[in-house]
């Protein structure tokens, strides 16, 4: 069934591709397309960060019975832009007795890892920079590179707070990376593919979280917890626990170097929410019910990227809600939570998922007429 999709961008992109390839040799066309994609990804990265920072400040303010930014622009809407300009023109303070090379290199590890993971996210129909057949593994791999930057920052800063922060971060990241990966693998067991675009396509009539019911819901919750922990945000913000370690691993950074950490933190929150959306909540796929063409058509009038952004925004909101409700965990509680609870639950959960799939108890197997793809 082909639905009308008036606001989708993939037609436009196709025309651009045809235009470039029609007028340029294949090498140059590919190069220019690559550059355009790069610019688009970086622009999206910066814009989403700005929006997230503004949203977080506003949402936090309402949680805390405050008003939040309300001076620059209407409702403080361009506060983030003002802050961005400020941080761009800020002086980078050169610290004595640091390991210069590592100190300056560290923020780039963090930001690069974050951008690389960002590129693999399917924002909408055809809006995905990299679509590997092992997409999930790729996202997990590149996002875990960021920890190198954090460890380097802690080590090279020659500051004891930074060092403790980085060590905490290392322990935390490695632990929770396991859980996050296992939670995603649970879904891979069900979908049988690691390609993000295919995963989205498979969720046309039943989101994975419903399709896999109990084990999928458990995996979803575990992914949210461990994803949240991976982003180093409260209640898992031990590496930068401002009450204990002043600012943890980025204590000594200033100006845009600090800005990189800050940006990466927000974008990682977004990436975690986006991956959760894609893998569990149907990604950019509109809500569709088999056989109800009119309803489906109405849903398709809403473009896919809007679906994606709305679902992701809800998860980001949940993340903020958690962050501003709970006090910080202690390092031993944090590791207990992972190694004593999440990881064993996860391993059992994978087994349950395998059994569910083998026994044909997923919704698509049980009710092919209602939820089956095809």
């Amino acid at each position: 069934m082909n639905y009308k999709q008036p606001l989708e961008l993939n037609g436009l992109l196709l025309q651009l591709d045809l235009f470039l390839r029609g007028n340029l040799p294949p090498f140059w066309a590919s190069l220019i397309e690559g550059l355009l994609i790069l610019i688009a990804v970086l622009a999206a990265y910066a814009v989403i960060a700005l929006i997230l920072i503004y949203a977080e400040r506003k949402v936090t303010a309402f949680f805390q019975a405050r008003l939040g930014p309300n001076r620059v622009g209407k409702y403080g809407s361009i506060q983030s832009i003002a802050d961005m300009i400020k941080i761009l023109i800020k002086e980078i303070i050169h610290i004595n007795r640091v390991d210069r090379f590592l100190f300056y290199a560290a923020p780039f590890f963090v930001i690069c890892a974050s951008v690389m993971a960002f590129g693999a996210i399917p924002f909408g129909q055809g809006l995905q920079a990299v679509d590997f057949n092992i997409g999930i593994v790729y996202v997990l791999a590149v996002s875990s590179l960021g920890i190198i930057g954090v460890l380097l920052a802690g080590w090279s800063s020659n500051n004891k707070y930074s060092m403790i922060g980085a060590m905490r971060s290392g322990a935390q990241f490695i632990s929770y990376e396991l859980s996050a990966a296992f939670a995603l693998m649970t879904i891979v067991v069900m979908t049988g593919t690691m390609q993000l675009s295919e995963i989205v396509e498979n969720q046309r009539y039943a989101w994975n979280i419903f399709n896999g019911h109990i084990p999928a819901i458990v995996a979803f919750v575990i992914y949210l917890i461990s994803g949240h922990a991976e982003t180093n945000r409260g209640p898992f913000d031990l590496p930068e626990a401002e009450g204990e370690l002043t600012a943890g691993y980025h204590t000594e950074y200033s100006g845009m170097q600090f800005g990189f950490y800050y940006l990466a933190e927000y974008l990682n929150m977004f990436i975690i929410a986006a991956v959760a959306t894609t893998v569990f909540l149907g990604g950019w796929m509109p809500i569709q019910i088999k056989g109800m063409d009119t309803f489906n058509q109405i849903m398709w009038y809403i473009p896919s990227y809007v679906w994606f952004i709305v679902k992701t925004a809800i998860l980001v909101f949940v993340s903020l809600w958690v962050r501003w409700s709970f006090p910080r965990l202690r390092i031993d509680l944090l590791l207990n939570l992972e190694w004593k609870y999440l990881l064993p639950i996860n391993l059992v959960n994978i087994l349950i998922m395998v059994l569910t799939v083998l026994a044909g108890w997923t919704l698509t197997d049980l009710f092919p007429n209602l939820f089956g793809n095809g």
Partner: protein
């Protein structure tokens, strides 16, 4: 003890020679029926011909029983007294303070560095012959190295005095500075912390970064002029501190305070206590990483500050109490505002309970953390909600009732667990108790004068006067020695925060770094109260 002089002054006073002070205090401490196991204050004195110490003792079971022990030495060049650190732990920092300010060294104190002043300070400020010219102790822009070697003077088995030194930290200790500039030290406090991984191995308390010499300044000011200094000690209990000094002077001068003023004072005190506890709650939550709870505490506190603002124009430091009464009468809608605040606050206390107090992370981070036993609480003199969290019934309002407190029905909040959670819950419950106290008073404020007639130049009769009150942090005391002048001869403040800080190395040992911060929040100390 034959040569002890026993006098019945304001309190029972015993004067002994230095060599007998330690055995006497030991005997008082170990007495079976009435053990004087609580050293309320250790006051260093310069009487001109003699340098000495006044020990104000009390009993943890009967905090209303008090005894004063005085000892002094005539040797001004090398004054030596015996340390009582082995009997009362709280003496340790107090003796170091007496050394810094008066130059009295204490034999057998294990670490005789100067407290509050830097190691190379010239002269002893509280001595009457102190040379205060700025040239002697110039302001330096050079970093001062912190020495880890503490001098001490010990008595060996044969009774000989041996000067020696001791190391504070091992050479290979991993030391981090929590403070003096740190988000969680609640002021300019400096904890040098040796870590073993993330576990606290040892803490060295260093204070004095905002030492203002208030006690020295007081010696050249008249009593009404001194009042404002009390606000700047524990600024969160500003009004209650001020009440203590007013009471002390009024008692000494025999001034009768009009009943209306008493009512206003107590209501303001209790409001002040609520605001202090709210800030303690907020800061404690913030130390545990719960920023939202922090803002909640501040939000409620704002209502109290508004009431203060409308009454006397001040918010934090309100200059309300003066000798003989209060400075400002209550405004017309005062009763209405306070009555509106009471149900509002009750509602919010419930919200704190729902939102924070039973959160699983909070429970894990507070229950069984920072355990302070009753014996240690008494020995370190930890009073207030923290002392009562260890099961020590030490509310000054109950035991030494001042102002209107003997006419009011209220419950003393006591918990016996001795952990962070007990201290935390004590504060929240005390807010409720304070609300009940205000409820009893607010409708009965009598009409009449708010200020007794007080002579413009106030001279206190010769003698020693001590008055303590219950602030948000614990027992705050004012000691005045008067020679019949319009200035006090010596004025000393008993700081509850000093005790709270002095116990930190004990209760934080072998806890994780995060818990050290959390325990600090639960002890709720205010640094200007220490750095008088």
């Amino acid at each position: 003890m034959d040569d002890a002089v026993i006098e019945e002054k304001q309190k029972l006073t015993v004067t002994v020679v230095p060599a007998q002070a330690h055995p006497l205090l030991k005997a008082l401490h170990d007495h079976k029926e009435l053990s004087f196991d609580y050293l309320v204050a250790l006051i260093g004195m310069d009487w001109g011909d003699k340098l000495g110490v006044i020990y104000l003792l009390s009993s943890s079971d009967n905090p209303d029983k008090e005894i004063v022990v005085i000892t002094a030495t005539e040797n001004r060049d090398n004054p030596l007294l015996y340390s009582v650190t082995d009997i009362y732990e709280t003496a340790h920092l107090n003796e170091r303070e007496a050394y810094a300010l008066l130059g009295i060294r204490f034999i057998n104190n294990p670490d005789m560095r100067r407290f509050l002043l830097s190691d190379n300070w010239k002269g002893f400020p509280l001595r009457k012959d102190y040379d205060g010219s700025p040239g002697l102790n110039p302001i330096t822009v050079v970093n001062k190295e912190i020495t880890d070697i503490a001098p001490r003077i010990m008595e060996d088995a044969n009774g000989n005095l041996v000067e020696s030194t001791t190391k504070i930290f091992e050479d290979d200790d991993y030391i981090i500075n929590i403070g003096p500039q740190h988000p969680s030290t609640h002021g300019v406090m400096h904890f040098r912390t040796a870590l073993n991984g993330e576990v606290v191995k040892k803490i060295d308390v260093k204070s004095g970064y905002i030492h203002r010499g208030i006690e020295k300044l007081c010696e050249s000011l008249t009593y009404p002029q001194i009042l404002h200094f009390t606000d700047r000690l524990d600024y969160l209990s500003a009004n209650i501190n001020r009440h203590a000094l007013c009471l002390c002077v009024e008692k000494a001068a025999g001034i009768e305070v009009p009943p209306r003023a008493e009512y206003i004072r107590v209501i303001m005190d209790e409001l002040n206590r609520i605001s202090s506890h709210l800030l303690a709650f907020a800061a404690h939550c913030n130390d545990l990483g719960a920023t939202t709870a922090f803002i909640y505490g501040m939000r409620e506190r704002e209502h109290i500050l508004d009431i203060f603002d409308k009454t006397c124009g001040g918010r934090l430091i309100i200059n309300q109490d003066v000798i003989g009464g209060v400075m400002f009468d209550i405004y017309n809608d005062f009763r209405k505002d306070v009555k509106a605040f009471i149900p509002y606050m009750r509602d919010k206390l419930k919200e704190y309970d729902d939102f924070f107090s039973h959160n699983p992370i909070v429970l894990r981070r507070m229950i069984g953390v920072g355990n302070l036993s009753l014996a240690d609480a008494v020995s370190y003199g930890v009073t207030g909600p923290a002392g009562r969290g260890s099961g020590w019934s030490c509310d000054v309002r109950k035991y030494k009732p001042y102002s209107l407190y003997n006419q009011i029905e209220f419950k003393e909040v006591i918990r016996t667990e001795g952990d962070s959670y007990a201290r935390y819950m004590n504060r929240l419950e005390e807010i409720e108790i304070s609300l009940q106290i205000i409820e009893q008073l607010i409708d009965n404020i009598p009409e009449g004068k708010i200020l007794a007639t007080v002579k413009p130049v106030l001279r206190l009769p010769e003698g020693q006067y001590f008055q303590s009150v219950e602030t948000g942090k614990g027992e705050f005391g004012v000691f005045i020695e008067s020679k019949g002048d319009k200035y006090p001869y010596r004025l000393k403040f008993r700081s509850p925060s000093l005790s709270a800080v002095s116990v930190m190395p004990l209760i934080c040992k072998d806890e994780l770094l995060s818990d050290f911060i959390g325990i600090g929040g639960s002890m709720d100390y205010v640094i200007p109260d220490i750095d008088r």
